[in-house]
């Protein structure tokens, strides 16, 4: 392997790549049963997104990566705990993969899925 210093170059990471990371981390979080497609006209109830990345919005205002997640949560879980835990997990996984800090991770709980009625 060459030990010669390489000229510093640019590394660009697309929003889509970050969205994939975030979507994978979200779907592994307990309590999340799906991502909601956010490209829907207001008033229409949620639709489980076919591609989970449709439930993720990545922006970088002022150079800081911000992530908005549109999720559907299992009915009967404590929604605030689930949302907290998603925000932590996504931040942790994305920051670890990118090797740099990110800005806000916003969670939008779009709906609850009822699979059992108690």
């Amino acid at each position: 392997m060459s030990q010669a210093p390489r000229p510093a170059g640019r590394i660009e990471i697309s929003h889509k790549a970050i969205a994939t990371l975030a979507a994978q981390a979200t779907l592994r979080s307990y309590g999340v049963v799906g991502m909601a497609s956010r490209n829907l006209v207001d008033g229409i109830v949620y639709l489980l997104a076919r591609d989970p990345r449709h439930g993720v919005e990545v922006t970088s205002p002022g150079g800081q990566v911000e992530i908005d997640l549109y999720i559907v949560v299992e009915y009967g879980t404590r929604v605030s705990s689930v949302a907290d835990s998603v925000a932590h997990t996504v931040r942790y996984q994305v920051e670890r993969a990118l090797g740099m800090p990110i800005g806000h991770v916003n969670i939008h709980v779009q709906d609850l899925r009822v699979s059992n009625v108690d």
Partner: protein, 564 residues
């Protein structure tokens, strides 16, 4: 401890099988309370298993709080049907679910309760069904279940219950035994399924917590104690002795900590058994072949642990602490430590300060600090500790005062790891931190206030008085171990055998002759009377200088002082 070792003699076991053939609501309640007690006893063991630095905080604590909420929901009622008790537990667990593991635990209870429905009694078949329903409900809560976690343990539990039922289980106790046995084995298998556990050399914390919940029920049935932790050896770094000191039982007046190197491999079970006959709150840690034993004992038995351990190997160090004294001190400190931090509005400037003692924290709070991070010379807070404090603030303009040269770097690192605008005023002592705070303006501009603070820091002379931990010659001053030393702006300036002359000389070197104000913050190892006497001496020597004496409560330093 394996089930085999816990199980009572056959005739007793047969008798128990009859009493626990079917479980009523009251018994379910008692068993759940036993779960909570046993989980709480082993909370630190579970906490020590965390591998991720972020996602789930302290699993043991989260699960314990979730269980506590479940028990609280039962209230004082003495309902006899398992269905009703199950519903209350599930509701309480849901309302109090904390962290990832707590949410999953609440789902397990939810499924469990659903199976109980409106049944009055819980028999072997219904219990088996309840474990299956718990598994199903928990798995429904996630799209991509990760195996090697509490979910896997719940799945294995349901399978073990089913197998036991098919093998002819007659009582609810038969099922519980089979489940606890499998839970233990399943937890042990988690590292095979989840590489991150393998790498960290631990088992899954949530799975372990679930195991303690189930084992607590079984231990209650067997009549085994629930308040002594399992005979486990933790890594030394994971021993949390401060927590142990908070649970003091009447009569156990002394805390004894002994470091030793055993002559032969230690039989942990026998070691615990012997210690349990002497005292309570037993913890054992190990690192590099050195063991550390922690125990609370009555005054009469103060020497017992030492005598016993002497027979096992070479003792390296013995530490005694008088708990009653400590407790009294804690309550005094707790009373005086209630202080109000400054509140900040979004967009305003907030200050996070590192404080080595409760008194100093109080002084900082009174000067407008919005968050305190505990730390100092020998307990440096991590970057994460600082970030956590920053994260709690509702504003994104934050100034950090590290107040110790060993913490400046961690503070600077923090500023690269958050989206908030952080600036660090590199204060290296408490007086510098206080000087900086006098320049604080919550409505000012971040860089302007930072500059003003840095300038204020330059105008103050800070003095620290402590005891030398080793012999050294530094900055032209010769010091023997155990001597009192005075530092001026972090540099060794004076040494001597007694506190008073050292204090006076270092203040003189700091320019007390021309000063207007000397503030003395006395440390945790000193009482007010002593400090006031020394303060009076300072006033005698410099009658025209105003002298302030404040309880700083910092460890290791007899005095921290500012001269201005």
């Amino acid at each position: 401890m394996s089930i085999e070792a816990m199980r009572p003699p056959d005739d007793v076991r047969r008798e128990l099988g009859r009493s626990y053939a079917k479980i009523d609501g009251r018994t379910l309640r008692t068993l759940t309370e036993a779960s909570l007690t046993w989980l709480r006893t082993n909370q630190q063991v579970v906490n020590a298993l965390n591998v991720f630095p972020v996602p789930d905080g302290d699993t043991g604590t989260n699960m314990t709080l979730t269980m506590q909420s479940a028990i609280d929901a039962l209230g004082e009622s003495s309902v006899a049907s398992v269905g009703k008790v199950g519903k209350s537990i599930a509701h309480g667990a849901l309302m109090g679910a904390r962290g990832n593991s707590g949410v999953i635990l609440s789902q397990l209870w939810r499924g469990f309760a659903r199976a109980l429905d409106d049944h009055a009694l819980l028999d072997a078949a219904l219990l088996t069904q309840a474990f299956a329903e718990a598994r199903d409900t928990a798995y429904k809560g996630v799209v991509h279940p990760v195996e090697g976690t509490i979910l896997t343990v719940a799945k294995d539990n349901a399978r073990a219950a089913q197998e036991a039922l098919e093998a002819g289980a007659e009582s609810a106790l038969d099922i519980l035994e089979a489940v606890v046995e499998e839970a233990e084995a399943s937890v042990a298998r988690t590292p095979d399924l989840l590489p991150v556990l393998q790498d960290a050399g631990v088992v899954d914390s949530g799975g372990k917590g679930l195991f303690f919940i189930l084992e607590g029920m079984l231990r209650h049935v067997y009549g085994l104690p629930l308040d002594t932790p399992l005979a486990t050896v933790q890594p030394l770094s994971a021993l949390k002795l401060q927590d142990a000191a908070q649970s003091i039982e009447p009569g156990q007046d002394w805390e004894v900590v002994i470091d030793f190197r055993p002559a032969a491999p230690l039989d942990i079970q026998a070691f615990y058994a012997q210690l349990e006959s002497i005292g309570t709150s037993i913890q054992v840690g190990e690192g590099d072949g050195i063991y550390r034993m922690h125990i609370h004992v009555p005054t009469a038995a103060k020497a017992e642990p030492e005598k016993y351990i002497e027979t096992l190997g070479t003792i390296k160090r013995v530490m005694f602490e008088n708990l009653m004294e400590q407790l009294a001190e804690q309550s005094v400190q707790a009373a005086s430590a209630s202080f109000k931090l400054a509140t900040v509005a979004p967009g305003q400037l907030a200050v996070v300060a590192v404080a080595p003692g409760s008194g100093i924290a109080q002084v900082f709070a009174s000067l407008g600090v919005a968050a305190i991070v505990e730390g100092g010379q020998t307990m440096n807070p991590s970057t994460q500790d600082i970030l956590s404090a920053v994260d709690t603030l509702p504003t994104d303009q934050v100034i950090i005062l590290p107040n110790n040269k060993n913490i400046v770097l961690a503070a600077k690192q923090a500023s690269g790891l958050t989206a908030k605008n952080l600036s660090v005023v590199p204060t290296t002592s408490v007086p510098q931190g206080i000087a900086a705070l006098l320049a604080h303006d919550p409505d000012g501009d971040l860089s302007a206030v930072t500059d003003a603070m840095a300038q204020a820091v330059g105008e103050i002379r800070s003095v620290e008085v402590t005891t030398a931990t080793r012999s050294v010659e530094l900055d032209g001053v010769h010091v023997r171990e155990g001597q009192v030393i005075g530092l001026l702006n972090g540099k060794l300036a004076v040494s001597g055998d007694d506190l008073e002359p050292v204090l006076l000389e270092v203040l003189k070197k700091a320019g007390a002759d021309e000063a207007e104000l000397i503030s003395l913050y006395y440390g945790a190892g000193m009482i007010a009377l002593q400090a006031n006497k020394l303060g009076d001496r300072v006033r005698e020597v410099w009658p025209r200088v105003e002298v302030e004496i404040v309880r700083g409560g910092q460890p290791h330093y007899q005095f921290i002082a500012s001269v201005e």
